[in-house]
């Protein structure tokens, strides 16, 4: 269900947090759904169990999941749509930030970037343009 790249310079637990938030935002992980145990996910991804446990702890602190002793970890229910939306904003912010950083490194100025962003908006949000 999740994929991480141990060779990357991005800490593994952050990659895992990103993946799980993405799954919650997309609804691949539904509100109230149980997550794999730390051991099961560590074996599934062939990564260290403490790394998985660290990701789960942070997700709990961010109120994306909840853990009850003896039962396991679950996607928080209740305000699930808001949670998912917030998780989605986190993921989108990260992706956009990377794109802007890359563009800057390529020597593009902010004005060109704004044009590119508007072009992307027009392509993927045609309904918003029609309504204005």
């Amino acid at each position: 269900m999740f994929t991480v790249d141990p060779r990357s310079g991005i800490p593994l637990y952050l990659q895992l947090i990103d993946q799980i938030k993405r799954a919650v935002a997309l609804g691949t992980l539904a509100s109230g759904e149980q997550l794999p145990t730390v051991k099961a996910l560590a074996l599934d991804l062939t990564i260290n169990p403490n790394t998985v446990a660290r990701a789960y702890r942070e997700l709990e602190r961010d109120r994306v999941i909840e853990t009850s002793p003896g039962r396991g970890s679950f996607v928080r229910s209740g305000d699930a749509p808001a949670e998912a939306r917030r998780a989605g904003v986190d993921v989108a912010e990260g992706v956009l930030s990377d794109a802007v950083r890359e563009s800057r490194a390529l020597g593009l100025d902010a004005r060109i970037l704004t044009t590119l962003f508007e072009r992307a908006l027009a392509r993927w949000y045609p309904e918003e343009r029609d309504s204005t």
Partner: protein, 301 residues
């Protein structure tokens, strides 16, 4: 509690200093990857930890106590070159281990032997290097040890069996075992371990959680419109490991606060400043490279 605690360990062989004032602790449930070039002191550290060799000074403790014969009831050691008996079969070794260890789990042993496709009737003398490694691993994991010390545990194994070894380490750690293992294969360490200890010339040169190191160790790269300036002040900054200058490019290897360093570099008016992530291999190579020689060679280039 620290399942393994090495404190101020020094080991001399005559005039040669093999381990130099090493302190290293690993907790129960944690996996520490011990990295270093050949001759850095990894195997000597293992020998002193297991009381197979006497430290010149310093102490070692396993589960809070000095290493004694009873320690080996729950500690498993897989040495770099196997200590198996050539004339005896795989099955003989399993049987001898069963008789020696109360914690020997026969079902687990059979399962592990099947994982590594070992024929219990075969004599050790007839096995390949990889198969011998596999036998040593089966014997080690079959006693369900709380502490595992593995010297190059995947040497000679094909990629499928190497992955099986990682699974064994991960499974043991998830069950609360403490694992200290050395490997030249960074790929194994970055998967199975949560922390690393890097030795160079017998000294500990880097220690930390892998994810923390990846979060802290970065390259800040600035590109200038003309020749890159000497960033005075940053050269002696404790956050900066070393500086490379090549034409219009300035690269700072930082050990912490990459964002802060990038911000300060902006005052030199570069065209762009970028923070680049480093994989574990780069972090390791950075830690064992001869800093002075490395940067001066780059400066001359």
């Amino acid at each position: 509690m620290n399942a393994i605690a090495i404190t101020n360990l020094t080991k001399r062989y005559g005039a040669q200093l093999a381990v130099d004032d090493l302190s290293l602790a690993v907790d129960a449930g944690s996996v520490c990857g011990l990295l270093g070039p050949n001759g850095a002191g990894k195997s000597t550290t293992f020998k002193c930890l297991l009381a197979l060799d006497q430290p010149t000074s310093g102490t070692v403790a396993v589960d809070g106590a000095p290493v004694a014969p009873s320690t080996f009831e729950y500690l498993a050691y897989v040495p770099e070159t196997s200590a198996l008996l050539e004339k005896y079969s795989v099955g003989d070794h399993l049987e001898a281990t069963r008789r020696t260890y109360a914690s020997f789990d026969a079902a687990r042993a059979a399962e592990l032997a099947a994982t590594f496709k070992l024929d219990s009737k075969k004599r050790i003398g007839k096995l390949s290097k990889g198969q011998r490694t596999a036998v040593a691993l089966v014997l080690a994991f079959a006693i369900r040890p709380r502490v595992l010390v593995l010297d190059e545990p995947a040497s000679g194994l094909d990629p499928i069996f190497q992955r099986a070894v990682l699974d064994l380490i991960i499974d043991a750690a998830a069950g609360g075992a403490c694992v200290l293992f050395s490997s030249h294969q960074i790929g194994q360490v970055e998967r199975a371990a949560d922390s690393i200890a890097v030795l160079k010339g017998g000294k500990l040169v880097l220690r930390g959680e892998i994810d923390d190191l990846k979060g802290d160790e970065k390259i800040v790269e600035a590109i200038f419109p003309s020749d890159a300036p000497s960033p005075n002040g940053l050269a002696s900054d404790p956050r900066v490991r070393r500086i490379e200058r090549a034409g219009r490019i300035l690269r700072l290897h930082v050990r912490s606060d990459a964002a802060g360093v990038a911000h300060e570099l902006a005052s030199f008016e570069p065209r762009t400043v970028d923070v680049l992530d480093l994989g574990l291999e780069d972090i390791f190579l950075g830690a064992v490279s001869d800093d002075a020689a490395y940067s001066s060679a780059k400066d001359r280039a």
